[in-house]
């Protein structure tokens, strides 16, 4: 995240508001700590409680929620444990989908960001606006639109059949591919924007120096430009990976029962009749842990670069 970080660049910053600093920061600290930090801790606690059958919890310590990810112990939890891969598969699928979405966004988003950043400044803003507008459009509406476009007798299939590329409509909806397309399309702007910002600041005289030494363009891109804009690339990857991993709308609307992801699994525990709050809390805790690990790795890599 650029802007507002610790440090604050070379410009001399005033400290005019230092005496009232605490009063300025307190409202935001209080609101986020009470309504976000505390709830996260309570969620962690709930994941270790016993489930109440009609939603909610019984205040009794239990590891049943975590146990349920790996073992099936029957309806009342007293059968001998049998290995159950249903939930492990859902987590694995979510991880793979999120990684593939990140890779695809990078593969397509990097050239786009590079192209936009190397335009003359007055063209840049227009290109950038075009990439940003979809980000401002309601994600639900975007996902519904995608479903409309790719459905069995929808415009995409009609178009492909019209130009003779396929003879039968592609059954895209309810497949992993549709979910992947939804994730890619939802989060592509998150990849383009930070890479754009990095390439825009990149000093092209480095590339030119390499070119004078007879390196070819692709070697320059790989060996000189890419390492220099790496922070932007990593920021983009994190911004795509995190929401993809916990995505709910794309798998729910574009996918089906066989494309279930963590987001839908969690939602089901709090909405459906077969809800299990501790299990849902445990799934959310695991998801949050994966995200925190990704963020910590990123922060550590950044710290090492700066030393």
């Amino acid at each position: 995240m650029a802007g507002g970080g610790a440090g604050g660049g070379g410009r001399t910053q005033s400290a005019a508001f230092a005496p009232v600093r605490l009063w300025l920061l307190l409202p935001s600290w209080a609101v986020i700590a009470i309504f976000m930090g505390l709830p996260l801790l309570i969620m962690l606690v709930y994941s270790f409680l016993t489930k109440e059958f009609r939603g909610g919890v019984i205040w009794e310590f239990s590891l049943a929620a975590y146990d349920r990810f790996v073992f099936d112990r029957g309806l009342f939890g007293d059968d001998p444990p049998v290995l159950n891969t249903t939930y492990l598969t859902i987590f694995a699928r979510s991880l793979i989908q999120a990684l593939v979405a990140t890779a695809l966004c990078l593969l397509i988003g990097f050239p786009a960001a590079f192209y936009i950043a190397t335009r003359p400044p007055e063209q840049r803003t227009l290109w950038l606006l075009l990439i940003t507008v979809p980000y401002w459009v309601n994600l639900l509406i975007r996902t519904v639109s995608m479903k409309f476009l790719i459905r069995e007798n929808g415009p995409l299939n009609e178009f492909l059949m019209g130009i003779g590329l396929i003879s039968e409509p592609l059954p895209l909806v309810n497949t992993d591919i549709a979910v992947q397309l939804g994730l890619f399309y939802s989060y592509l702007p998150f990849m383009v924007l930070p890479i754009y910002a990095a390439v825009e600041r990149y000093d092209f005289s480095l590339s030119e120096a390499a070119a004078d030494l007879y390196a070819d363009r692709w070697t320059i891109l790989r060996e000189v430009t890419l390492p220099a804009v790496r922070p932007g690339v990593i920021a983009g990857c994190i911004l795509v990976f995190i929401p993809s991993l916990g995505a709910f709308l794309a798998p729910d609307l574009l996918g089906g029962a066989r494309t279930f992801m963590i987001g839908s699994l969690i939602e089901e525990q709090f909405k459906g009749a077969a809800g299990d709050w501790p299990f849902g809390a445990a799934a959310a805790t695991i998801l949050m842990t994966i995200v925190l690990i990704a963020l910590l790795l990123h922060a550590r890599a950044e710290a090492r670069r700066e030393v």
């Binding site: 610790a6 400290a15 600093r21 986020i32 786009a112 192209y115 509406i141 709090f270 959310a284």
Partner: protein, 269 residues
């Protein structure tokens, strides 16, 4: 320099950029076009008509959509407004109050709502509200929205504040302006474009939210996204496409406003 080794040009990059735009816009354009379809079938084109827009405003479900729209807009205005005030104070405390211990931790706390996946925030908030016995409804939605809007309002405001020379407010204080006067008459006018962008971003983020709202809304209270989601579950009908196109239009208008506000702000400096 030789064209063949121009380090700013790579073959195929323009094509990929255009491909991005096609992927991003094709679904929206298709839905917008079909919302003007006279035929009730969502597959066949039956000529141009506004009938589905009439349906949205005067049809059987118009009351439901109007109530949902009212909830969405009032919540977005209040959540966006509250988040902007809190974020402006936080930005002053972070950018204009010198170095202090825990600045990094403070920034991490401020960005927590952006960093946590939405579904995790939704679960945590629902559990918290049910534990403290808060009735789910309009109030709980508003409260949840204020929290996740803060970082979205904060980022543009802090970025703008970092670009304003510290000399301005220091000069004001040297001339015996109180801290409040220095803020009100010197910083606030300079900061205004950042505050407007921050508010618009928070407003849109609140208007957009589905996942968290869906968890904390309780029975009977709907916002536009939850109402649309409920309708879409029974299949995509043409009136939903008209409603979506209207929301698309509103988003584009807001982005354009934000863009010009930002531009006006940057030329003034």
């Amino acid at each position: 320099m030789a064209r063949r080794n121009d380090v700013r040009r790579y073959p195929g990059f323009l094509g990929i950029t255009l491909f991005c735009l096609v992927v991003l816009y094709a679904p929206l354009v298709v839905v917008a076009v079909y919302s003007f379809n006279a035929s009730p079938s969502i597959t066949l084109w039956g000529g141009f008509s506004f009938r589905w827009y009439e349906e949205v405003f005067f049809g059987l479900e118009a009351e439901k959509f109007k109530r949902a729209a009212w909830n969405s807009v009032t919540i977005a205005l209040m959540a966006g407004g509250a988040a902007t005030v809190i974020a402006t104070a936080a930005a002053l405390g972070m950018v204009r109050a010198g170095r202090f211990r825990g600045k990094g931790a403070s920034f991490a706390l401020l960005s927590l709502p952006i960093m946590a996946p939405e579904i995790v925030t939704a679960v945590a908030t629902l559990i918290f509200f049910s534990l403290i016995g808060l009735t789910l409804g309009y109030g709980s939605i508003l409260l949840a929205h204020i929290v996740f809007c803060i970082p979205f309002a904060y980022l543009p405001i802090a970025a703008r504040l970092e670009g304003i020379e510290g000399a301005f407010d220091e000069a004001a204080q040297d001339l015996y302006a109180t801290r409040w006067e220095a803020f009100r008459f010197i910083l606030l006018p300079l900061l205004a474009p950042g505050i407007v962008s921050g508010f618009l971003l928070a407003f849109i983020i609140s208007l957009d939210d589905f996942i968290i709202t869906n968890f904390v809304k309780g029975a009977g209270v709907e916002t536009l996204p939850t109402a649309i989601f409920g309708a879409v579950k029974q299949g995509i009908k043409p009136d939903i496409m008209a409603l979506s196109t209207l929301m698309l239009g509103i988003s584009i208008v807001l982005v354009t406003i934000s863009y010009f506000v930002g531009k006006a702000g940057s030329t003034r400096r």
